[in-house]
């Protein structure tokens, strides 16, 4: 790859920072695509792309934001190739998402995850970035390559959907109408992909 200009110490710094953000990449990927095994494949793909593109990383800037852009691009590309479609693997998720420390809490994490996966992808990613990843609206807009107002509107809509879903107790159960949900997701993907902006530069 074209990483020959970086000194060994710069490469070591890059690798250390990349290593530190892996847990966050895994969390973002799992929120995006639902299936833990596919999410991890996606993270590994993003890590290799990040490593190959390391000269384009500006030291001192946010490695988490930079790698999220790469992860997001890899996700959109794979989605369009139908490698996965926001599928939700109930058994794996039950095992992984159960949080023993909070068992008395009424909202199970797998319910939360199912609810999240019913959102259109661009609202889901906006909510993940801002509401779970702790990015500012500005950072999220930069990651998604869209305007700050667009991110605010997506988060607001996602919020409204989840609020009403939770108020009505209308949390999707296992084997809801997945087929139609997936169709809707795929239809919206092209819209999301169209707004790549900053994201496309890191390809």
């Amino acid at each position: 790859m074209s990483d020959s200009k970086r000194t060994p110490s710069e490469k070591a710094d890059f690798k250390r920072e990349l290593t530190e953000v892996i847990p966050h990449l895994r969390a973002f990927a799992r929120g995006l695509c639902g299936r833990p095994d596919m999410a991890d494949d996606l993270v590994q793909e993003a890590m290799m792309k990040a490593w190959a593109a390391q000269e384009r990383f500006e030291p001192g800037t946010s490695m988490r934001a930079w790698t999220f852009v790469i992860l997001r691009n890899a996700y959109l590309t794979d989605m369009r190739r139908n490698r996965f479609r926001g599928e939700y693997d109930e058994n794996v998720a039950e095992r992984i998402l159960t949080a023993p420390a909070d068992q008395e809490e009424p909202l199970h994490l797998s319910d939360m995850h199912r609810a999240l996966l019913t959102l259109p992808p661009e609202r889901r990613e906006a909510l993940l970035l801002v509401g779970a990843g702790g990015f500012s609206y500005e950072e999220a807009a930069s990651i998604c390559g869209c305007a700050v107002g667009t991110i605010k509107s997506r988060v607001g809509r996602a919020r409204a959907t989840l609020n009403s879903m939770m108020e009505d107790g209308d949390i999707p159960r296992r084997s809801t109408d997945d087929a139609s949900a997936h169709r809707a997701i795929l239809q919206e993907l092209d819209m999301v992909a169209a707004g790549n902006g900053l994201a496309s530069k890191t390809r």
């Binding site: 790859m1 990483d3 490469k11 690798k15 990349l18 290593t19 530190e20 892996i22 847990p23 966050h24 895994r26 969390a27 973002f28 799992r30 929120g31 991890d40 993270v43 590994q44 890590m47 290799m48 490593w51 988490r64 992984i96 998402l97 949080a99 909070d102 809490e105 009424p106 909202l107 994490l109 319910d111 939360m112 995850h113 609810a115 999240l116 909510l127 993940l128 801002v130 509401g131 779970a132 990843g133 702790g134 990015f135 500012s136 609206y137 605010k152 988060v155 607001g156 919020r159 409204a160 989840l162 609020n163 879903m165 939770m166």
Partner: protein, 68 residues
């Protein structure tokens, strides 16, 4: 290393809490605009952040070194 990671997780979790309180909450409503699911969303994210890293990632990291 581990404490760095945990600190980072805590920071983003705190930011996320503030972010969702702001999202769609114009003024002064405080906790009622931080619904239960918002906490669930953060826990969903943090539960993955706190998972031990699978060996496949450690293997990938060492393969990156081989290439350089």
């Amino acid at each position: 290393m581990k404490s760095d990671k945990q600190k980072r997780a805590t920071d983003s979790s705190e930011n996320a809490k503030v972010n969702l309180q702001q999202a769609g909450a114009p003024s002064g409503h405080g906790a009622e605009h931080n619904p239960e699911w918002a906490n669930g969303l953060r826990r969903l994210y943090d539960s993955v952040v706190e998972e031990p890293l699978p060996d496949s990632f450690k293997e990938l990291l060492s393969r990156l070194d081989d290439k350089s």
